[in-house]
């Protein structure tokens, strides 16, 4: 898993560097025009910007991928403020509520995506194997289609124009240190259990942190939200009050906003239970430390990302982008992502690129037949072990809500700042 960890580090450095210059407003790395003709500037978070994918794309398509790795929030900011600075963007579905009205993104033409019909119905219909999955928050199916190529409105009915062609998604939950907790953890409410006073953490990214908080509040039996992903002002107040009380009583050791911080908090034992992302769990484990991505009764908080083109893109660049997107769905990249614990958009092609024992472990939740290796050849699980949370169907089927942008987002961000100051 050195690969992922390295990404983490790189991302940390980039993030901190980005933060360091954030005051100067323009925080993009300078871009030097390459002599090569087939070049795509690929804006996104480091999640699926792996060097292996770029190398393979170069080999298969002759396209040079120039990554512009930034944080989730920074991706949004870039699309809004500098739509000319990239040729292809990989962004999260929940950002679309901000991005689409700006008119800076172009609808993706479904007829140019060869495997469009193979894309998992988790996106198009919000179901897995015919079973409906949770759709609170900005579920991809709510923002999947546009009314037209340059439309700034979502369409409830399927159209030819798709907001994002999905790349990667996952179901998130709490990470725990079973060796330091020593008992089973089954509910989100454990995050605020006084037993873990001074040893818990939540992520300091307001739009995601509030969703984790909502899962906790519901699990505590305090309140059941009509829609966790779109709270009223009163609901925001109530949620933040519970968090603030916990903070004042010293529940939290620290907050984190960067992937790597969560890894360090967990690996050092400063924290034993916290919001976490799946590659962070893998990173902790690859240090030989026991860390579990704990499935919880209330379900998962899901997220999903996909490709879009800037509205300024022109002919040949657009062709290149479509060529790359089609390649991305054709299997190799999907298998690469699945092997890191993410899920790919077109499962059938990814399966064809994975060994049967790998597929059984990652997607079917079966005990590993042999040792499970990361794409870069580090051991992630020994023979006989099972994936946390089980199969694709169980994990994605257990989604309770999706990352979201609320109508009361402005208010929520202000309340979140208040919480940090409390």
């Amino acid at each position: 898993m050195t690969d992922t960890i390295d990404h983490g580090r790189r991302k940390l450095l980039k993030t901190t560097a980005g933060v360091a210059v954030a005051g100067s407003f323009i925080s993009g790395a300078p871009y030097v025009m390459s002599q090569e003709k087939k070049v795509l500037r690929y804006l996104g978070t480091a999640v699926n910007q792996s060097a292996e994918i770029a190398a393979r794309a170069k080999e298969d398509l002759g396209i040079t991928i120039e990554y512009i790795p930034v944080t989730t929030d920074e991706v949004t900011k870039r699309i809004i403020t500098q739509p000319n600075s990239f040729d292809l963007v990989d962004t999260e579905y929940f950002s679309l509520k901000k991005l689409v009205p700006s008119g800076n993104l172009l609808g993706m033409d479904a007829s140019r995506i060869k495997l469009f019909d193979e894309i998992t119905p988790a996106f198009t219909k919000g179901e897995i194997n015919g079973k409906k999955i949770g759709d609170q928050g900005t579920a991809p199916k709510k923002v999947f289609y546009l009314k037209g190529e340059k439309s700034t409105e979502f369409s409830d009915e399927p159209t030819q124009w798709v907001t994002l062609i999905p790349t990667v998604y996952n179901a998130d939950t709490l990470g725990i240190r079973p060796d330091l907790i020593g008992r089973p953890i089954k509910n989100w409410s454990e995050l605020l259990n006084p037993e873990f006073k001074g040893k818990a953490s939540i992520l300091n990214i307001p739009s995601i942190g509030i969703m984790d908080a909502a899962m906790v509040v519901e699990s505590m039996g305090e309140y059941t939200y009509p829609d966790k992903g779109n709270m009223t002002k009163d609901e925001i107040d109530m949620t933040m009050k519970i968090l603030t009380e916990a903070k004042k009583s010293g529940q939290f050791r620290a907050f984190w906003s960067d992937f790597n911080e969560s890894v360090n908090l967990m690996a050092s034992g400063e924290v034993v239970i916290q919001s976490m992302w799946s590659p962070a769990i893998t990173a902790v484990r690859s240090k030989g430390i026991d860390c579990v991505y704990q499935p919880l009764e209330e379900g998962y908080r899901a997220w999903a990302a996909g490709f879009a083109l800037p509205s300024t893109i022109k002919g040949q660049k657009a062709d290149l982008a479509y060529e790359f997107v089609n390649w991305f769905l054709s299997g190799w990249a999907g298998a690469h992502l699945n092997r890191q614990g993410y899920y790919s958009a077109v499962l059938s092609t990814a399966q064809a690129n994975m060994e049967p024992y790998e597929w059984d472990y990652w997607m079917l939740g079966k005990p590993a037949e042999k040792d499970i290796m990361s794409p870069s050849g580090q051991k992630l699980a020994s023979a006989g072990e099972m994936r946390d949370g089980g199969s694709y169907e169980t994990r994605m089927g257990g989604v309770a809500c999706w990352n979201a942008v609320m109508d009361e987002n402005k208010y929520m961000v202000r309340k979140w700042n208040e919480f940090i100051a409390a």
């Binding site: 901190t16 933060v19 360091a20 954030a22 005051g23 407003f25 944080t71 929030d73 920074e74 949004t76 900011k77 809004i80 509520k97 901000k98 991005l99 009205p101 700006s102 001074g198 300091n204 307001p206 739009s207 903070k247 939290f252 050791r253 620290a254 907050f255 984190w256 906003s257 360090n264 050092s268 034992g269 400063e270 942008v405 987002n409 402005k410 961000v413 202000r414 979140w416 700042n417 208040e418 940090i420 100051a421 409390a422």
Partner: protein
């Protein structure tokens, strides 16, 4: 050359810098002030002239007294770290500068020791800050040591992600900003002045307090301005060392910017700037910095 042409040439000489200053300082600053009065949505900023960005910041601040609102609580917290960092870096910085200037007699040695002080600056701010974490954590070296010598039974929590670790990091990062200007002031003090003071019967402390300190005032003021302005606007050190549990104005601005709330961030920046300027003006009232430059 007539007086008139010499005046023109003076203006011409000042022109390049004035232009740079105008383009890269005045214009952006004016833009920040202008944008702070604009309206905004999730994805756009709208030219307007509204005061809500400011009133939102202080909403309920008066009504909730004596309980502090976010803005007040954040400024109180920020000012606390400003004061602590300023005070400690001043004492340390003055001490180090005094030793370099008066206790080290050879110039070569002075230069060598001075350069030694700058060695930590060869690595980045962030690295110097992060290196404290394995030292101060629950399983860190300090706690291991304390437990080994039997001073504590349980690891001490307040060493990291606390006000202590934030202050420690600030002092570590910024003491040199105090040392340099104070050292510079001290080197300009005529040794004969000190001798005269001793000859007149002053003891060591009297010389320090009545001669050295007053003559170092400009250095102290410049160092103070460095430390105060940096700490006022900091959010990385407070974030990393405080486990993001401690508020800072910089972090609020940072969060607002990442949610594209530029006008609100601009309003916060204007207020931060105004308060920082007030502190600096107050200081320059006490000390005439220009006299020494």
């Amino acid at each position: 050359m007539s007086a008139r042409t010499s005046r023109i040439s003076i203006y011409l000489l000042a022109l390049p810098y004035a232009l740079v200053f105008l383009l890269f300082f005045v214009v952006p600053l004016v833009l920040v002030v202008v944008v702070s009065f604009w309206d905004y949505t999730e994805y756009s900023i709208i030219p307007d002239f509204i005061g809500t960005n400011y009133s939102d910041i202080f909403r309920g601040c008066v009504a909730r007294l004596p309980e502090l609102c976010t803005a007040f609580a954040t400024y109180v917290s920020t000012l606390k770290y400003v004061f602590l960092s300023w005070f400690i870096t001043l004492i340390l910085g003055f001490g180090v500068a005094y030793y370099l200037a008066f206790c080290v007699s050879s110039l070569t040695m002075q230069i060598t020791l001075f350069l030694l002080c700058t060695i930590p600056f060869w690595t980045s701010n962030v690295i110097r800050m992060i290196s404290w974490i394995p030292l101060l954590g629950r399983g860190g070296l300090v706690n291991q040591f304390l437990m080994n010598i039997g001073l504590v039974d349980e690891p001490v929590d307040w060493l990291l992600y606390s006000g202590f670790s934030v202050t420690l990091a600030f002092v570590h990062l910024y003491t040199l900003f105090m040392v340099v200007p104070i050292f510079n002031s001290m080197m300009r003090i005529e040794r004969s002045v000190l001798e005269a003071a001793y000859d007149a019967g002053a003891n060591g402390w009297q010389v320090l307090w009545n001669v050295v300190v007053p003559l170092c005032k400009p250095g102290i003021a410049i160092g103070s301005i460095f430390v105060i302005t940096i700490v006022m606007g900091d959010f990385i050190t407070i974030g990393v060392m405080g486990g993001q549990q401690i508020a800072s104005i910089g972090k609020i601005i940072n969060v607002e910017m990442s949610y594209l709330q530029f006008p609100s961030a601009a309003a916060n920046a204007v207020i931060l700037l105004a308060i920082t300027l007030m502190i600096i003006v107050a200081m320059s009232r006490i000390v005439d910095i220009r006299r020494e430059l």
